[in-house]
């Protein structure tokens, strides 16, 4: 630390300048380096969003009560298995409607690789489900059947998590009969 002049007294040369003497405190925060030429370092980034389900909120609340909610257009009657506030066909507002808990596999896949968030869950099945009298589909996980067993058109039924996570995976589908 710089030596201070006696209080209130100034030397003949005036106050001694501090610059040149100040320095940033050192830390033990280092950087992960993968290679040096070119210099490649680890650069961390993380964020928690304050995400509102807004007009879709009821869908997620209904899942906790074992109900699947879609949308029905108040103008043209078009019925959407995945809810949406306004009709894509005619633009009118929709109202909530309850979907049957049984449907058919419209199409499917088994993922052996995936996004980082779901990598530990592989292999998993994705399926688009069609419902009687409903115009559009619902994307879901299908469990209880393997790649060799799943068929387009097979009957499946909805199951719900007992402890909700308020995610679309609170509902999932299983084969209605033994595949």
């Amino acid at each position: 630390m710089a030596k201070k002049n006696p209080a209130g007294k100034r030397s003949a040369q005036g106050p001694k300048p501090a610059y040149g003497k100040v320095r940033l405190a050192e830390t033990d925060i280092g950087t992960t380096v993968f290679r040096t030429d070119p210099l490649i370092v680890k650069d961390h980034y993380e964020i928690d969003y304050i995400h509102s389900y807004a007009e879709d909120s009821r869908f997620f609340r209904d899942l906790t009560e074992g109900k699947l909610s879609g949308s029905e257009c108040t103008g043209c009657g078009y019925r959407f298995a995945t809810p949406r506030a306004y009709c894509m066909e005619c633009g009118a507002a929709t109202r909530w409607m309850e979907l049957p808990l049984e449907g058919r596999v419209h199409t499917w896949t088994t993922c052996y690789f995936g996004s980082e968030a779901f990598l530990k869950e592989t292999p998993f099945n994705l399926a688009l489900i069609e419902f009687e009298g409903v115009n559009t589909l619902l994307l879901t996980r299908l469990i209880g059947a393997t790649e060799k067993e799943i068929r387009v058109g097979m009957t499946v039924k909805a199951k719900f998590r007992r402890l909700a996570q308020f995610k679309p995976t609170d509902v999932y589908f299983v084969p209605a009969e033994k595949p």
Partner: protein, 425 residues
């Protein structure tokens, strides 16, 4: 709208990871290549730029567009960034076209890039999957290969398309790429090789899917006046078209086919369209581009197509959207060899995304550059003397000039652009 010409283009060789160059330098290199190829064009004649890159997550640099522009010495001229998923490059090309066609600017550089190596592949898959509905799709297991796999499973169910037919697309595109020095993968494959490679999402294997890449591409567009003054061999943008569809595949309707001029409604009785087996946006884009370019029958009126084959399955689905064959016949179309280099209409003579890679913001512009060289007849010049993939004009009565189409496509068919280019030779 006034006539617009492409007067030059440049690309970097796409690669899985290019840590020695930032996106700015990659764009600059592609830009310099284009400027060298059109020596009479000076920077002073360029009026502005349009820049495309898909994901701020990959770049982790907001307003990255202007950084590419300032590296090229093109500030303080007007610039804008465009983004639309996988079709980002195609949208960039068309935005530059609009700048010139409208008469606002006379010479515009469309420049695109992506640096996808900045995260690991599984994180990259996550970033890409954020381009699906984050309330209803992404949390279920967001993975684009999974989405396309579901689309083609339905295609197989509806039309009897086979996994071998998918594999044939990979074989064809990789084989074309053996003669393209700009391609990333030079593989001589068999159908069995494709089927034996690791399964990613049934039925798509590793070799059915393009590679996330680093790279840049540039296309320079100009008015007739500028083109005449600076370019000996320009290519005319004959017509552009664009289409869209619902973000969620689940929302796609099951209605009637949007017909092209040469199609008969009787072909599609009982077919529910587009469902998840076809890309309505692609059909819409084609219909519009064909009408603008006065194309009656694409099978006759186009000499080649560079289309968005992020997956072998989407190439087959796109043959149908583009009217190269009937809906449902895409599998047979490749099986019969029609899109091969020597077939009825060569598709992806460059090797496409499957062999060249898919640095998203650059991809649509890469297609423009390959198409430009094809129509100039300069493939060999840009390809170390190898002109094997140079397509020749079909013999068709009543048409004097060679034509090609470029097709750029975003996730599950949400945005699709189609642009028709014509030689002036």
């Amino acid at each position: 709208m006034r006539p617009v010409y492409m007067i030059s283009g440049g690309i970097t060789k796409f690669t899985k990871a290019e840590p020695r160059k930032s996106f700015r330098v990659m764009v600059k290199e592609a830009f310099d290549y284009a400027m060298r190829d059109c020596p009479k064009l000076t920077r002073e004649r360029i009026d502005g730029t349009v820049v495309s890159y898909f994901s701020d997550h990959f770049t982790r640099q907001l307003k990255a567009g202007v950084m590419a522009v300032d590296m090229c010495g093109l500030v303080p001229k007007p610039t804008i960034r465009v983004e639309g998923g996988g079709a980002t490059g195609g949208l960039c090309f068309q935005e530059a076209w609009r700048h010139v066609a409208s008469g606002w600017l006379d010479c515009v550089v469309a420049m695109g890039f992506e640096t996808m190596s900045h995260v690991n592949t599984w994180k990259g898959n996550e970033f890409i999957a954020l381009a699906s509905d984050t309330n209803f799709d992404y949390p279920v297991g967001g993975f684009y290969t999974g989405y396309y796999a579901m689309m083609v499973v339905r295609h197989m169910h509806e039309f009897g398309t086979t996994v071998e037919q998918l594999a044939q697309v990979s074989v064809k595109n990789h084989r074309n790429a053996l003669h393209n020095r700009w391609a990333q993968h030079h593989y001589d494959l068999t159908i069995e090789d494709v089927r034996r490679s690791p399964m990613v999402a049934y039925p798509l294997t590793m070799l059915d899917i393009c590679t996330m890449s680093d790279g840049a591409a540039v296309a320079i567009l100009a008015s007739e006046e500028v083109a005449e003054q600076v370019c000996a061999n320009p290519v005319r943008v004959l017509g552009v078209g664009m289409g869209s569809d619902a973000m969620r595949m689940a929302d796609r309707p099951h209605g009637e086919v949007i017909l092209l001029k040469h199609e008969d409604p009787k072909w599609y009785k009982g077919l529910k369209y587009p469902g998840v087996h076809s890309f309505r946006a692609g059909r819409m884009a084609c219909k519009m581009a064909y009408e603008k370019a006065r194309i009656e029958d694409p099978r006759e009126d186009l000499d080649f197509v560079e289309l968005h084959d992020a997956y072998t399955s989407s190439e087959i689905q796109t043959y149908e959207d583009m009217g190269l064959c009937k809906y449902g016949d895409g599998g047979k179309f490749i099986e019969q060899g029609h899109p091969e280099l020597t077939g009825m209409i060569p598709v992806n003579p460059s090797g496409g995304l499957i062999a060249c890679g898919h640095p998203v913001g650059a991809t649509g512009l890469m297609q423009a550059v390959f198409a430009f060289w094809q129509l100039q007849g300069t493939i060999a010049k840009h390809n170390e003397g190898d002109g094997y993939i140079q397509v020749k004009q079909k013999k068709s009565p009543g048409r004097r000039r060679m034509r090609g189409a470029i097709h750029s496509h975003a996730g599950t068919g949400t945005y699709v652009t189609v642009s028709i280019l014509e030689s002036t030779r």
